[in-house]
Chain length 324, copies 2
């Protein structure tokens, strides 16, 4: 890439003159300005963001830490963050942490050394203390870490209730819950919503709640075992869409039909849910909207704009398809 | 974050001494070194990558330009690039271009201003000339732009032949092809492979090749029309997995069964293919491996290591599942 010196030489002026033209301060006569602009164009000179970063200790870059971009929830979130940031002049550094605390710490150090301006985080392991030590604005998404850290989440408990109530409405009389991991707060909240709807039912057993690790293979196994032990089960609320797709596979493996013998509902509203056969009924989160809001809020914080609200608990929505 | 000045003050030494300790050059006595190291630790001082970038015109950052991270092929590629880069001390800036030439140019300018060290690109619109003007190493993936730009692709034509031949082997006698967009080279190559296998068959018609735009909705529509017009078709080779899932849906909509009435095979080997019902037979690309190789090759180029080969045309693999 061309340097400012080369531009000055090409235009036959001093570096200071080129700088005045670029920064549009101080007097430069019209003919000289045109010569400099022509040189900038012909050499494809780009003013130097890095020097500006060093001076301002800002980089017009934000970090996005997700557990794993291959989990189908996160590409849509990442896309929304990147679309929004890019419109506002920021680039996005993507970090996959696998929620491994050492990896997270390593990324935090790296990002700070690069003077990132702010960070969007999805994590169950980072503590409020660690985040506050960063000295750059942080927005947490999907998982709440602390009430005083800007956060975008959804109403998980209400969503769990909504899913379970819908299964009851369509006539299910034995409803099981495929639960996400214990250490993830939204998994416990969705499970709470389920319990609130069923704990007074005469048929309810604690055994109807089984762990599926938010992932397909273990959901298949867990559902297969559950339905073998309790063949009366006619409805399953899965804590995320991937587990719901696994549950449908297990129902098929047992020679039963979805939704005729067992109705299945998921949670998330990922694109995959529509690609499933039968297409998956689900409690949809506004995933893109969450990413967009997180990026807007973070950049407002970075640019010290007036912020009205830093905690958003968004509504979820029942999307009826073929699996119920 | 602490500055080098604060470290110097804390340790009771000059900034120059701290700098000598950090960069490990020049004499510092043991006791002083320990004092400086203790101050660095207690203040959580991070040496300044940005200053180093300005000096070396390097940033330990690479760019990754993909059309859309929400297309299920790219999260796995992005994950591989990021895993590999991170192990080698580089961070990754993610850019979604929608293959829009203006967005691509905007990103190129932004990335160059940030002194990125190199770029991994998936694009059909960028020209070899544009890429060479960048003056940083570039590796293209999935789509070949020019023979003299480092490239990682797969054997698309051979894969197309493999898919079609397999449908013939299992007894299909009227095989159609759901083709990707004309402007994407790999779509045309996969179609070539199909044609090579079928053009001598007495039943072959050009009408058996239909466009599905590499996307589910249009694949459903195209397949539905095709099977309505030619109910004899008993095998479909789809140019990617998403279209294959769409084709399966269309077969079901017509009251037919997969694979009993119509066998369906895809191309890509995305995780989604296993989540489909029936699970999708496909020609699998080594997606993670492609990302890993691209990142390794790019960083070798950045670090001016000896490179043996800059053009990789990788093998694909037939993965048999339930849809055939």
């Amino acid at each position: 890439m061309a340097t400012i010196k080369e531009v000055a030489k090409e235009a036959g002026v001093s570096v200071a003159t080129v700088s005045r033209v670029i920064n549009n301060n101080g007097y430069v006569n019209d003919e000289t300005r045109k010569r400099v602009e022509k040189a900038i164009q012909s050499l494809n000179y780009q003013p130097n963001d890095v020097a500006r970063s060093l001076f301002k200790k800002q980089s017009q870059t934000i970090g996005l830490m997700v557990p794993d971009i291959m989990n189908p929830f996160f590409p849509e979130l990442a896309r929304a963050v990147e679309d929004t940031a890019s419109k506002l002049g920021y680039t996005v550094i993507l970090c996959n942490t696998d929620e491994d605390i050492e990896k997270e710490q390593m990324y935090l150090n790296t990002l700070l050394r690069k003077y990132i301006d702010g960070l969007i985080v999805v994590s169950n392991t980072l503590t409020a203390k660690q985040i506050k030590r960063l000295n750059v604005p942080v927005v947490t998404v999907d998982r709440e870490i602390s009430k005083d850290i800007p956060t975008i989440i959804v109403q998980n408990t209400a969503g769990g209730r909504m899913a379970t109530r819908y299964l009851k409405e369509i006539g299910c009389e034995r409803i099981a819950h495929l639960k996400g991991p214990d250490h993830i707060r939204n998994a416990n909240e969705r499970c709470c919503g389920y319990k609130e709807e069923v704990h007074n039912e005469p048929w309810f057993k604690e055994d109807y709640i089984i762990e599926g690790h938010y992932e397909m293979e273990s959901a298949i196994k867990a559902t297969y075992q559950l339905l073998t032990r309790y063949p009366d089960i006619d409805g399953i609320f899965a804590g995320n869409d991937i587990m719901a797709i696994g549950a449908i596979k297990a129902v098929h493996q047992l020679g039963k039909k979805v939704p005729d013998d067992v109705a299945v509902i998921g949670f998330d509203g990922i694109a995959l849910a529509k690609a499933a056969t039968p297409e998956l009924t689900t409690i949809a989160q506004p995933i893109y909207e969450m990413g967009r809001m997180a990026a807007n809020l973070l950049i407002d914080l970075i640019e010290k704009k007036k912020i009205e609200k830093t905690f958003y608990n968004l509504e979820v929505e029942l999307v009826k398809r073929q699996s119920t």
